[in-house]
Symmetry: C2
Subunit: 751 residues, 2 copies
Amino acid sequence: MTKQDQIATTEHRIVGTRPVRPDGADKVTGKAVYGADFYLPGMLRGAILRSPHAHARIVSIDTRKAEALAGVKAVATNADFPRVEMDEIDAGEAGINVDRAAQMCLARDKVFYEGQPVVAVAATSPEIATAALDLIEVRYEVLPHVIEIADAMRSDAPVLHDDLDAKGPSNIAARLDSSTGDAEAALATADVVATGRYTTQAVHQGYIEPQACVASVSGDGQAQLWCSSQGAFMVRSVVAAITGMNLADLRVTPLEIGGGFGGKTTVYLEPVATILSKKSGRPVKMVLSRDEVFRSTGPGPGAEIDIRLGATKDGILTAAIVDMRYQVGAFPGAGAGAGVMHALGGYRIEHKRVTGCDVVSNMPSTHAYRAPSAPQAEFAVECAIDDIARQLGMDPIALREKNAVRAGDTSFSGTPHGQIAFMETLAAAKGHDHYSAPLGPNQGRGIAAGWWVNHGGESTAMISIAEDGTAVVATGNPDIGGSRASMAMMAAEVLQIPMVKVRPIVADTASIGFSMLTGGSRTTFATGKAVSEAAAEVVEILKARAAMIWGVDASRVEWRDGEAHCLADGRDEAPLGIKEIASKASKTGGPISVEKSVYPHDAMPTYAVHICDVELDPETGHVGVTRYTAIQDVGRAVHPSYVEGQAQGGAVQGIGWALNEAYTFNKEGRVDNAGFLDYRMPVASDLPMIDTLLVEIPHPTHPFGVKGVGEVPIVPPLAAVANAVSAAAGMRMFDLPMTPARIHAALNAAG
Amino acid sequence: MTKQDQIATTEHRIVGTRPVRPDGADKVTGKAVYGADFYLPGMLRGAILRSPHAHARIVSIDTRKAEALAGVKAVATNADFPRVEMDEIDAGEAGINVDRAAQMCLARDKVFYEGQPVVAVAATSPEIATAALDLIEVRYEVLPHVIEIADAMRSDAPVLHDDLDAKGPSNIAARLDSSTGDAEAALATADVVATGRYTTQAVHQGYIEPQACVASVSGDGQAQLWCSSQGAFMVRSVVAAITGMNLADLRVTPLEIGGGFGGKTTVYLEPVATILSKKSGRPVKMVLSRDEVFRSTGPGPGAEIDIRLGATKDGILTAAIVDMRYQVGAFPGAGAGAGVMHALGGYRIEHKRVTGCDVVSNMPSTHAYRAPSAPQAEFAVECAIDDIARQLGMDPIALREKNAVRAGDTSFSGTPHGQIAFMETLAAAKGHDHYSAPLGPNQGRGIAAGWWVNHGGESTAMISIAEDGTAVVATGNPDIGGSRASMAMMAAEVLQIPMVKVRPIVADTASIGFSMLTGGSRTTFATGKAVSEAAAEVVEILKARAAMIWGVDASRVEWRDGEAHCLADGRDEAPLGIKEIASKASKTGGPISVEKSVYPHDAMPTYAVHICDVELDPETGHVGVTRYTAIQDVGRAVHPSYVEGQAQGGAVQGIGWALNEAYTFNKEGRVDNAGFLDYRMPVASDLPMIDTLLVEIPHPTHPFGVKGVGEVPIVPPLAAVANAVSAAAGMRMFDLPMTPARIHAALNAAG
């Protein structure tokens, strides 16, 4: 292992340490139950017939032969969903359009991408279910299709939906425009201007676990779902809306999740399994294959971004014009919105204009992917800043320090920033030994910064003290990135008891109050706040119970070292530990249990600066990353190993985005590389150890100073790698992924 | 169906009605998951080698051959439990002695009854596990055994335990003595005295579902249990104590329960499955057979009771002396304690003495059985009162009315009774047409009263309002007698929304605050109080949220018809329903979720009067019950069908106790009738429809007037049937069960 540093240490006993994770033993021994592991006696297996066409009208569906096959217990199409209104429901970070979500589960009149589900079957075995698919006859009227952004925006492009664009039928789903000052005029007077059209490709989150669920609907319409997702309440909300149920009639139990990265903030299988279970009267299990994941779940969108960035000769950024087109796939999805917000949000620029639009085309509808839409936008901006630095001969970090937003600057939302830590993060990067290390031949170094807004959102936590003084901490968020550990640590810290006396669990939707899905880097922050507040309330109860036992006023009790101390005059009482107080709970008022819901609105943005060294093989165009350091503003790292892991994971995903990853479509609009062999994500042997440096500037109004850390690390790598490759190649690389073929071609073209 | 009456109707909209049960569909379609239904992939099956001897010392255990059998993954004996202290833990209605509970799971040095577990095996199939049992060699030193109370009390009896009796080694485990006035002197001056030695046999609860569980222990010692019990927190507490775990490390998920009646207020399998899972690293399922249930789980104790009851010629009871010996089985269990409390507690008697003791012997250790120990004691008293009535020529109900306890009388606990309803129940019985209906030849009518103290205890409930305004109600008590329905009804009543908008669930031990087990007829009362209070708090929150939406003070909002109404001057706002308020929760402060723990101490005793008609066949001694009416003080019947069901079920169990049920032991002390064919419980064809009359005198301090209703109906039947048979036979029957052989012999002896 290489060094993993931390700036600032902590005054806490448990927060900031690296205990064994509470879910570790189960996960390394294979005992943990992921979506595909869940089993119910008598359950059926579901399978889905998918569109072979990128764009087609469904003329007819004949399922009679499939229904007649022995072992087939139910067949479902979109017609089995109660026809829903086009309601947006607020089930997480972004609203989910119920009607469109339903069509991504089972197509209605048209198919909009190859792999879109059309008919689902439940049978007594996976083999029978698959065999039944072959017996279904779907007649299609094949329509012309379009994939690329530019093609989809042409006036003669095949139009996917008639009703997206207020200006008349087109593939443009949203137009956004955000403007301050007079950017054109300011650009005209700038000393230096960097210009470019940057492109990125749609990339898949690549979560290791494909979607999987088991649904079980009772004869009276009550239902249960067990599934892997980023939010059981989100699943409850979307499935209930699509299938027309009361929310309280649907109990969703979260199973372990093998990665989500934003891709599991919606559902694809659950409504289908629910309808199949309802029709068959039996539990139904459905599991996607990797091929299905690639063809039918939402990747992050590709983008085409034009930027013009102007600066004075002193390195003051004065003007920027950014125009972005996001390739959102078949239905409007994760698009330009966050891109417009994030593109220039890291810098003070007086005159600026950011425009963006979402462009639909015949590929899977995109969805959130870690800091959704920010990496694309900031990629263009961070490359342009690098170009400015090169033009001015300035140090690229120094240039960023001149222009970085800081406390008191107006944020995108219009309110002034609090004590944000971009400056400290830049300073930490500048001081890191990586930044001044020598480079070898054919090597280049790039740096890039990035920021992410971070979310708060609704969270509920429950802490109950068992009769022996051990504590259960229940929350409503799945443990994606270590929340069991961080929740237990925060509770243990407040209660002042050892971490092993606190057991964290992930509760189902019927066992805890509403909790927004895990997304927006909000869980350690907001759910942690709920846990901390619940624990603080437990401490107050423990003090009151001790006071009752002693017969003193509760104000005369202090909680210290996990024990109640009696401060009442003239009383010399031995301290009472949590175990002693808990064992007497039935005599002092009953169970000690606190449920706390919070909805904090004070989440703070976080910042990251990545330093990337690459070595370029001029013969082949191959790029190897030789050293990589992720410096990140993390507020307070509750469990630093997890935070470092977030920084490392985000960096690796960003490197894949920069160098390797892209969908390839054949001329029929079918995905040609729907598998990990052909869709090339970085693996351990491709990369050096990713070094991290955690910059701890605590969030001033969070009990433990926590800021969201999970998303910002995917923002800088696209530009950090591109800047490094551009430095090594001696020329600006505008297009991702920077494959050997593309680099080779660029080097050849440049001679 | 015959008529099911109710006295008093209710002013409520939902409480007092008979909606479809929320758990109904699953239970009638076989979808509900009981203990034996639960399945985990890779789970092993456990089996238990049991003692063939009624009393023996274990000389050696050799498990090597069993361990060597292919497919055997773990073998466990008592030595695998960490040696526990003789701690009583407070895990429910009665403390459970951990050391003894452990020996009932796996014997230590001695076996005390045939069927006591000695060695447990976990293997990949039930067949292999059973085969492995045959390979285990246990050497015993067989000891003399004793079964019957009188035999066990002899000075030369084999003594089971050296340490039970403070007076020196004996089989007497507890001696109780409760005395008021001078009973001997008062008896000497009584106008009439009824005398008798009454005997009852140990009887099994006969729950339809044998004990079953699945345990799964992780590599780091955290564990989960899924099982059928009367209290998941009780299971957690006992299993953690026996196996030496932190409570928070053990998560117990309650499955459906197919009857308990007190018998499932302890554990037999769970600690064994837990240890086997720990040793094997795999989940372990264990299920008892009916044979094992009879041989190794605790029935209710038999008893031998001497009574002398004196009265004036006007029918005033003046003196009573009752001496009771309870046959508690191998270890001290459910014994004389509640018998001493209940025997005379229904009547005003100035001079009284009640003594009792628990006698151990070589049969399964007894456990709670519905109103534990009260039916035996009150059987003797209610028969004696009947004899007094006959001697005085008084109406037996009128005699009871003269002496019944009423409000203000001192209760057994020393505090005055509140507004108890014994008098009203007696009056309702006297007025019932059954009481004056004519009898045919060879028929006899008996009546008897009974009372049960009822418990309060700790309960937690959580209500969370989903975004669509539907409500989930979670509680920590298993649904044994309809608690899902009654909890949902009380919540719906308070929230003023339809019952179908409220979904009740039974939460696991990690998802809700501590809840004492379901026993002592406490759940509808205490957990219902927690639900009612939580719902009332939800209403306050809903009002506050509506006030926030309107921008008025919360005091100017009224909750009526499930809607918030604005009372603020000059404001003409349309009412806001729960759905509208819930959909805006994220904008008005976050999730609406309330957890409430209560520990009420104001549970009230309830009373029952049963009228029984029998027809006796003088040729065979066979007794047929021809008509039976259970009149019961119920406080307020939340869901009257369930309450009637309780009255009917208790009556039927009591009839079985009176007429049919008893263990038979062979001369080696082995149970000869360990199955439902030979241990004869009444079935539907044995009985008439049991009529019920619910007397509703609401509990004055419970939100819905609820009193415990589940246990008192088993108290009167023993005496009601005995009084009827005695009337038909023209002679007092003292001994239960009144089998045809016994009645025939008695009739013959009397000529």
